[in-house]
Amino acid sequence: MSRIKINKLSVSYGSHEILKNIILDIPDRRIIAIIGPSGCGKTTLLKSLNRLLDLNEDVRVTGDILVDGADIYSADTDVTVLRKKVGFLPQRPYPLPMSIFDNVAFGPRIHGLDVSCALSGIAGTTDEKTIRKSGKAGMNLLVEHYLRLAGLWDEVKDRLHAPAAKLSIGQQQRLALARVLSIEPEVILADEPTSALDPISAKLAETQFKILKENYTIIIVTHILRQAKRLGDYIVFLYMGVLVEHGPAAQFFSAPQDAKTKAYISGEIS
């Protein structure tokens, strides 16, 4: 299981410093909630973890981030391998311009995932015959598996080859989840994954995260304090680009140390 260590991380866009000297060890196999007011650098911190920040112009990153002991900002890091290990779930679940099936199969295809190998790794699949299915039949099974894992299978099983863009936004978010799960990541970064959803879809998504945390490290950015309380096992509080406080959820919410944290939890600042 991946361990993420952030050491003296600073990020700036042009002359504007977004994150300042962040030092943090992220525990694994749990839900880590990054909270803080809008514009405090939550998303930037999240996107720095799988180098999605690289896609922005004028961005400068100093310090280092170690994933399993390797500095991901070193020159010999293969970002495609990193992004396979550290998956990303966006705020707005853009489906890729293809069918529902192809959206889920996209990741395994580009990474050349060995379907039979992936199938054998899936919990509960011990049937030799199933595992030996490769090629098209194997991919069908794989897509079904991840759609089930994301809680979307029953709603789409009869129209797998319909355009993904036709799904409702709640379904699109679960499709995005299936898509990120399909690349077999160890860590899932989720950027306010329920902010575009209606309350029912949001609840569904939260339930899914609680199930998934058994097998994945989930780092979720949220500006909803109650969501952080419901989901988070470990809380990271950012304010104006500075890491103010972090700790296990129970301790963080019941006995906050910093004055800013107290003010934020009580609703005095937001």
Binding site: L55, F88, P97, G107, I110, R179, V180
Partner: protein, 282 residues
């Protein structure tokens, strides 16, 4: 009526009038061309090449120009597509950086605005230099040059409309730039890319000046790339310039055929674009 409401009404009238003018222009062109040309339009006009004395009103048709234009257009469209699509995809900011993109766009825009007679003259000079005479090959090359800026800029706009978040999604899954471009950008931009092809064909097929010196004109259907080739715009031009009324009517009939070809291409492209757009993300 208060002044804001008046403003609203006046502006609406102005817009409606402008729209009406656009429709009127198309209707007027089709009507005049059809009225003057329909009498001369018949099967032999489409099926036959000019016989002796055709330009004095005797028998024959303009199959040479119809087929010539289709040859020219097919060749030039394929060639410019092969060049324009990579240009448009390369103009994504991930590839050469913003400055180089802006410079390339400026160059393409200048080329777009260059009059086609200049392309024709340039092509002619190049052909003389290379020892080529007016031919299908020369015509295709010059039309390709003429079509590239239009096609690549139109495709570039379509590619630029692809939401950044969509590309980010693909990169986030561990896709490379190439995989993202082929699997995501190309699919999402496909309807716009079709439009780009149509715009370029529209300009290419109707252009007379650029192929006047480079493709030449002949009464025969070319059998090799090095033969001269006739074309519809030049057929219209030459026939309209004769003093014989029957031949002038044939000029309008030729124009009508050209219009119909453009119409058919447009309809096909719309249908393709509509088919390709079912997967795109709005």
């Amino acid at each position: 009526m208060n002044s804001r409401k008046l403003e609203e009404t006046l502006f609406k009238i102005f817009m409606m009038a402008s729209l009406f003018l656009v429709f009127l222009a198309l209707a007027g062109i089709v009507l005049v061309v059809a009225m003057k040309g329909l009498s001369a339009l018949n099967l032999s006009m489409i099926m036959e090449t000019p016989k002796g004395g055709y330009y004095l009103g005797k028998e024959g048709g303009i199959a040479n120009a119809i087929i010539g234009s289709l040859y020219l257009m097919t060749g030039a469209t394929l060639l410019s597509l092969m060049i324009s699509l990579p240009v448009a995809l390369a103009l994504q900011k991930e590839y050469p950086g913003k400055r180089f993109c802006d410079l390339t766009r400026l160059v393409l825009d200048i080329l777009w605005g260059t009059p086609s007679i200049v392309y024709g003259a340039f092509g002619f000079v190049m052909m003389v230099y290379l020892g080529l005479r007016a031919s299908l090959l020369g015509g295709i090359m010059v039309l390709t040059l003429l079509m590239i800026p239009i096609m690549s800029r139109a495709m570039d706009e379509a590619v630029r409309m692809v939401p950044f978040e969509l590309k980010e999604m693909s990169y986030a899954l561990g896709a490379t730039r190439f995989e993202t471009t082929i699997a995501v950008v190309l699919r999402q931009a496909l309807p716009g890319i079709c439009t780009g092809v149509i715009l370029a064909i529209g300009r290419g097929i109707g252009d007379a000046a650029s192929i006047l010196f480079t493709a030449g004109y002949t009464d025969d259907i070319p059998t090799s790339l090095l033969d001269p080739v006739a074309s519809l715009p030049l057929a219209v031009f030459f026939q309209a310039g004769t003093p014989v009324p029957e031949v002038q009517a044939r000029a309008f009939a030729s124009a009508l055929i050209l219009l119909l070809i453009v119409l058919v291409i447009n309809i096909i492209a719309r249908l393709l674009g509509w088919r390709f757009s079912k997967n795109i993300v709005r």
